[in-house]
Subunit: 343 residues, 2 copies
Amino acid sequence: MPGKRLDFLFIAKQQRIQRMWVPVFVEAVNKLGNLRIVENGNDLSTEEVAGLIRQCDVLLTGWEAVAVPEAIAGNPGKLSYICCVTGTVRALVPKELIAAGIPLTNWGDAQARSVAEGAFTLLLATIKNLRKRIDVIGSGGWSPQGIAGFRSDVLALMDVGIYGCGVIGRCFIEMLKPFGPRIRIFDPFASDLPDGVSKVDSLEDLFTRSNIVAIHCGLTPETRGSVSANLLAMLPDHGILINTARGEIVDQQALFGELESGRLRAGIDTLYEKPETDPALPANHPARQLKNLILTAHCLNSPHPTPDKLLQMHEICLQNLNSFIEKKPLSFLMDQQRYDRST
Amino acid sequence: MPGKRLDFLFIAKQQRIQRMWVPVFVEAVNKLGNLRIVENGNDLSTEEVAGLIRQCDVLLTGWEAVAVPEAIAGNPGKLSYICCVTGTVRALVPKELIAAGIPLTNWGDAQARSVAEGAFTLLLATIKNLRKRIDVIGSGGWSPQGIAGFRSDVLALMDVGIYGCGVIGRCFIEMLKPFGPRIRIFDPFASDLPDGVSKVDSLEDLFTRSNIVAIHCGLTPETRGSVSANLLAMLPDHGILINTARGEIVDQQALFGELESGRLRAGIDTLYEKPETDPALPANHPARQLKNLILTAHCLNSPHPTPDKLLQMHEICLQNLNSFIEKKPLSFLMDQQRYDRST
């Protein structure tokens, strides 16, 4: 029973992101409705953005999209569904829209394994001091063993602490198990525990008892700044911090201090996002040169874009658009609680 | 029923290797017998080395030990057991000693998981192009996406081929599984297959169907040079080779050619060992600068030496020394077949 084709809209801040808008995805969305992609949305006023949104049935949002104006909550016009192709929704959709009852979905757990894979890459690269190894080889040397400050470890001899045991944390734990470390988690919301993992009751306990702590919690008022200078000081010498969640969870200056002194090691995919500078760290920041820090630009989990291949995020989006058209239940629907806990 | 304390001997080429001879291990060996460590064995004649060996009950050997002279096979003197603390035995103990019936053991599977962990580190670092990412951050840039030649992938979308499915290959497969790639193996000797893995009948088939090939076979007359220029050419564009086994299995010049052209990527922990140069690659070799190659100095699997901690290799050695003293069966005893297949 085909009805009128729906109007889909996406407003990019500047250009659309190629790895999200791969041609095969654009084509598939266009089969389901009339897709309009507006670029250079940063040049539009909030009023103009709101005007465009009120004329569409479904707003697509995601990486590098213009945020939905709060005014849409009180006057949504024709808008009846917001489909976020990617993960983060809080910077894109004000919570007033949830309260107003406009359905909002995101990619759910599509990226959990990829995010955990990125975190695992940083973990192994950091534990093996790969940055120093590469540096030695590149400058004409050979074995890094015996070089001052060089240290390489084996996971089976380590105690790993997991801060946040949601979908990503659980993926990460499954990846850890074959390597044989002892695993402890801290997560006040986790009701059940993965097999072979024990739970601690405080972050202090987690940091004191771990050689490695991996952060897999969302950014919430409780977690913001929770990895404080005091907590970092509780990690043993040569301890490792892995953060692929959100920069704001960690006291960044304290972390840089521990790295500059050489006491700790870290694999970091995410720094403070506000103020929104690009790059997130000045070009001459000394942390860039630290051999005990592997720093990546919050894109470690993105697969190489292949124009002819739908990724899981694309498939989840298409399924949801289709469900919406056919008035079936949507997957990964946000409620206030999921929204508040999401990163 | 304690008998006479046995004489244990180790002859180092130069200095003893600290990460093998950690103090707690020296102490433990000394509890079982009289340990003599001779350094600068390279200054001794073969006759002098043979003379020393003939006066001990048990020869300890391993990293950076002087090779056992072949003449010991015909005239072993008091020598009645050779205990290799580490893995490689063929460069240290001539096969004539096996034929002569002198028991020889090594660390068995103690290092399998560590070796697989090293290979896995190279795999993830290579698939994420970590070397280029580090380079961009270090030189003041930020996101590597869009930079010519940059490519980063996700394991779940990959086909991984395993060349050699012994203890190390099996560890590596268990590590791969939580990441979700398709896994195929080539191993003419593997009778049973790990769950969820399929087998191919030729190396050509393995290389044609894989985005990533990890080498986990031993160096034997059959495997030497088996990863030829032709085989490398069968890997698809952007294909990845991981080698933590032995450099001689791969046509090194052909591999460097494929890396210099930018067609392939690689994570390599081991190069040709003969001629025995140190470093194994001249200081100005262009391969050192390739951003699509992560090269390490065949020490990726070594844990940081901790003076007060026995590693698994130490424990296996101590168990075997104890078994020998108590005339119990030895673990990881070499026979001709194991010797021939070992690296």
